[in-house]
Amino acid sequence: MTDTPAPRYIPDRLDKPLNAAIFSWEALLVAVAVAIFAVNSFASPYFLDVWSLSDLTFNFTEKALIALAMALLIISGEIDLSVAAIIALASTMMGMAMQAGAGTPVLVAIGILVGLGCGAFNGLLVTRLGLPSIVVTIGTMSLFRGIAFIVLGDQAYKGYPSSFAFFGQGYVWWVVSFELTLFLVAAVIYWFLLHRTSFGRRVFAIGNNPVAAQFSGVRVGRIKFILFCLTGLMAGIASVLITSRLGSTRPSIAQGYELEVITMVVLGGVSILGGAGSIVGVVLAAFIMGLVTFGLGLLNVPGIVMSIFIGLLLIIVIALPIVWRRVRRERLT
């Protein structure tokens, strides 16, 4: 983000389409996903079971929902570190409403609206006051979760209505959970938004060169504001899902999710410097992270050791194309 971009390597002629497809980021991710899938099914006899595979989706869909919006935000050159704190605040507000006797539809509305409001607050600070998003959202991260701590302290909200449990625990059809369905629908919507609309083109334009975009008539501030709102909205939706899945709210809910979401986005091939990335990559990265953590979980690997694999995966997948390109360039010259 704050790094200086490396000088771009401009080839004499473009790769043939087939070559480009084979060596694309998404192809690399598919290969990694297939490899992990194969290793998992050999390593554990319990892996290749529809219910196992269905359970697998629960541990990444909530983060992946946020990652979709975060991808757009990072492509535009901004970042939001406060998403996990938004989840905590939205969940706390839902808990308060629940204690006041609100029903399921009201709870869902409150979760989503609080998320949207927090996103709008971030967006206002960044676009109206022209502040760097990384520090603003470090601040709002403490602020949002801090409010949750003020309200709850060391207490917890429990006893959500039973109809509320559907969002995080229900199934739409056979093994297809509501969370997975929601994620897939959202992925299609975000794919369309980023890759098939002028709004998406503007997001890329802003990420590549905000000043040039401004001079081209793109309303940089407004689009960034919308992106912050979208990220907040997705965090609000994720908050509904998590609260429903866990059936309780503690102020420490979803702690550390922000870094996992960003890891997902970066692993998905979105440039942290802005200006490049795709939704397909992010969706693949979400599945890869789900496969890694679930597969290792079946092998009784503790969560903290899994995080080593995720960290290594992140660095290796980012480093591989760089090393490979360098080797190829040296061979050419």
């Binding site: 006051l129 601040g139 403490s142 701590f149 302290g153 501030g221 660095i315 090393v323």
Partner: protein
């Protein structure tokens, strides 16, 4: 406007004095020398970490792995101490510095040689280092009764009426002050932050300098690994979990620009002190410690808003109206 950024540290100092003044109006004991000395001591570790982070941020990079580095190094020295109590503490401190240096060098190498953005590298090593702590410890804790009395006692020993921990912090502050104001490396660090391209033309090896700043932040984290463990006398995988953002917060409050090139040793120290006072004062004025997070969050946002006033890029006046729309 021009005057503001130059005297940013003075403003922060004034804010701190006012804060202490307000608290001591209700609780006269707060401003007593003994309590202020305690306050400095409590904040020492954060100061050292903030200084390490400062040199990284100045070069337009960021080190998110400092807290994990601290956790890993702390575990290494705690396990060494538990297994071989005979190892003298100064040697353990050297080991802590070296382990921290190696972890920082890994970050620096990836940033320097592979040109991966620092935020990505340190996001990865953040989880790797903490995971590695679990691997070397097997998830077990090192408790106070396993540590030797010297290991725990060194930083608590008083020298000229001030605990050794504070002296270490003072020494580190002095070293960083010399580094930033009296050495070519310090000038290079500022130059890279202000304009990396011009720095290359001026003959500064940008990549190598970034490697060095990550080594410095790694050493700072390593040193704090020992200090943290011997202060809170427990080494576990959970040590300093999420603390990386507190370190960055201290830097931001201290007026260090996340865009690089702006910031000073005094700012980092005062930023850390400010956060220290907030966490220290809340119990005194009878506010639940659960308020601390929200208050420091607000302080960060306020600090960014104030600092940004002096940092606005010039030369975009043509589009002022369009921008406001």
């Amino acid at each position: 406007m021009k005057v503001f950024p130059r005297y940013r540290e003075v403003w922060l100092l004034a804010a701190i004095v006012v804060l202490i003044g307000l608290i001591s109006m209700r609780f006269p004991g707060f401003a007593a020398f003994g309590n202020l000395r305690q306050l400095f001591n409590d904040t020492s570790i954060l100061m050292i970490l903030a200084l390490g982070q400062m040199v990284v941020i100045l070069t337009r990079s960021i080190d998110l792995s400092m807290a994990s580095n601290l956790c890993f190094t702390g575990m290494v020295v705690a396990m060494l101490n538990a297994a071989h109590p005979a190892i003298p503490i100064p040697l353990l401190i050297v080991i802590a510095l070296l382990v921290g240096l190696v972890l920082g060098a890994i970050n620096g190498f990836l940033v320097w040689r592979l040109n991966i953005p620092s935020i990505v590298v340190t996001l990865g090593t953040l989880t790797i280092y903490r995971g590695a702590t679990f691997v070397i410890s097997g998830g077990a804790w090192v408790n106070a009764d396993q540590m030797s009395p010297d290991f725990i006692g060194l930083q608590r020993a008083a020298f000229l009426g001030i605990p050794v921990l504070s002296w270490i912090a003072i020494l580190v502050i002095a070293l960083f002050f010399l580094l930033m104001t009296r050495t070519a490396l310090g000038r290079s660090i500022y130059a890279i932050g202000v304009n990396p391209t011009a720095s290359v033309y001026a003959g500064i090896d940008v990549g190598r300098t970034k490697f060095i700043v990550f080594c410095i932040s790694g050493m700072a984290a390593g040193l704090c690994g020992y200090l943290w463990i011997s202060r809170y006398v427990i080494a576990s995988v959970e040590v300093a979990n999420g603390y990386e953002l507190n370190i960055i917060a201290a830097c931001v409050i201290g007026g260090i620009s996340i865009a690089g090139g702006i910031g000073s040793v005094g700012g980092a120290v005062l930023g850390a002190l400010f956060l220290g006072i907030i966490s220290n004062a809340l119990p005194v004025i009878n506010i639940s410690p659960f308020w601390q997070m929200a208050i420091s969050g607000s302080a960060i946002i306020l600090a960014v808003v104030l600092n940004a006033r002096g940092e606005r890029r010039q030369g975009r006046i043509i589009l002022k109206k369009a921008e406001a729309a």
